[in-house]
Symmetry: C2
Subunit: 383 residues, 2 copies
Amino acid sequence: MSVTAAKGFTAAGIAAGIKENGNPDLALVVNTGPRRAAAGVFTSNRVKAAPVLWSEQVLKSGQVSAVVLNSGGANACTGPKGFQDAHATAEKAAEVLGRGAIEVAVCSTGLIGLLLPMDKLLPGIETAAGTLSEHGGEKAAIAIKTTDTVHKTSVVTKDGWTVGGMAKGAGMLAPGLATMLVVLTTDAALESDVLDRALRAATRTTFDRVDSDGCMSTNDTVLLLASGSAEVTPEYEEFAEAVRQVCDDLGQQLIRDAEGASKDIKVEVINAATEDDAVEVGRSIARNNLLKCAIHGEDPNWGRVLSAIGTTSAAFEPDRLNVAINGVWVCKNGGVGEDRDKVDMRYREVHIVADLAAGSETATIWTNDLTADYVHENSAYSS
Amino acid sequence: MSVTAAKGFTAAGIAAGIKENGNPDLALVVNTGPRRAAAGVFTSNRVKAAPVLWSEQVLKSGQVSAVVLNSGGANACTGPKGFQDAHATAEKAAEVLGRGAIEVAVCSTGLIGLLLPMDKLLPGIETAAGTLSEHGGEKAAIAIKTTDTVHKTSVVTKDGWTVGGMAKGAGMLAPGLATMLVVLTTDAALESDVLDRALRAATRTTFDRVDSDGCMSTNDTVLLLASGSAEVTPEYEEFAEAVRQVCDDLGQQLIRDAEGASKDIKVEVINAATEDDAVEVGRSIARNNLLKCAIHGEDPNWGRVLSAIGTTSAAFEPDRLNVAINGVWVCKNGGVGEDRDKVDMRYREVHIVADLAAGSETATIWTNDLTADYVHENSAYSS
């Protein structure tokens, strides 16, 4: 049930007229308390959208009362006017909800370089506030979709407390930190520093390792809001694991819905000297267009895996590299291994293991194949 | 023409049966002297093909008598046997030509991870040697094609001396140094250290700035052979400029023939703090799949340019960035600039200017659009 699975939250999703096709495009998530601790992580793209710049300021206090999210426009590269619009959005929500604007985070997604239609967005906030509900999580998740074909939600319920959330993202999906909008909620009673620690730990190994198309967004935002409504303070480790599970589940949903993709590719790097090496190698493999095309064609072209590994600075010896595709070790000691005809690639999920034979660290990056449908979806119109 | 435009060289190109379709697949270039100075630059991919490892040894002496080149197989990731095969190839050519094997460079291109059919290659060298001719440059250029639709040659003739060359390359085209095979020849009388200096200077701003698909090859090789046959020793600056012109021309031919491409994109980064910054930004833009799709769709989607710039470590302020597409400044000061509908993108060449407003350095990277044809060509069969 998305962001309203945890107690102490209401949500709404409506069509405010920001999208020309009349689809839902405005979501509101409100923390009804008693607490309002929060944490957030944002894109590491140095070109940041106005709502990111605004929300980074909001999160400095560690307190978030409400989040306004819109699809239909990224409000990125829109200059001082764009920042004024993000600010005005927060002010309007604060006024309607009776909160302070500095506790209202704002998230936007859509085309870069266009100003938002504030004449539609501001009245929309008033309409959305009028439909806020403890069952509104689903509608909110639907309202933040862009090219997503399905809305994405996840919930983990533990002993007396819950972590839930929603996500959107289908293209420009290569986090640094996370190319997507995500709002997580919990009714656990926790302070913002604990939320921050758990959220950073979770995103580091989940959203941060989703790399569908190598393109980092200007609008990435992951927020975690805690209402304290459950009146339970879980152990840190247990809470952090619940947050990680929800992030992992949402990250998987993003990969499965990536634009034009026909394959979900799990790139597992093993026996690396360091975790950083494993991530660097995994990302290099995941971003290799030739390999992504080969996987699309169900061709276990391991030479393209080795050529991708060879561009990294990770510790390895070329003649000790091993590569398995769907369980068949097609490359051994940097050369020809088992018969590549043994590799069965009929299914959507493809598992590549790259063995660096240089240590004991590991990392897994998720990506997609490169398809004509991806090209079509990203060339036929602006997005 | 091609590698036989300069005096003191013979060449041949034949079908040795390495390619199953019977197309030409073996080329031989021989320096008939009187000098045999040479220089070479090779892929910086750490997974290097056997012929690259062999030829790197050959070039250490600064002397090359002959080059054997084959298409139909990269001889990469083939282990000790692959290296033995590269060595045996050089030995065979040395025997047939009456030279030392350590003066015979070897280049291979084709699928990674397959051993070469030596039972066809070695007799082929004998056949090729029997057809060596001062007019064989064209045939040699044809024999090294893989997915190239046309063969590539270039010649610059100066006062009494000449620089000519041939190149192949259409995919896995993202140099570090150059994802291609190139053999350049000159009849100028120059020592190997001068050749090396001129070649490195030329490739740094030509092949090194061609980035069609972001995928770095295991087999890149650029060789420059000098016969001294013209008995002229040109001034260094004049010679280096001639080499640069030939490299630039061949690099342009590679971009124009890139797999599946419908657009050639010139990414010009200006007003960078350093040349390295300009190259980093240019490469980031050139490798952005979403932008490459947009260009394919003739969509001047400058937001994708800014999101690519934002992932770099170059010096810039987001609100001072400017972007022009085909002469229209669609982004000014990090926000909306001139009307994007003014951008005419009907022609094959697209010119993107990214103004970092952070200094006075510049660099130009050439790339292509991302098309369904590229996906098809790289997914429908192994290459």
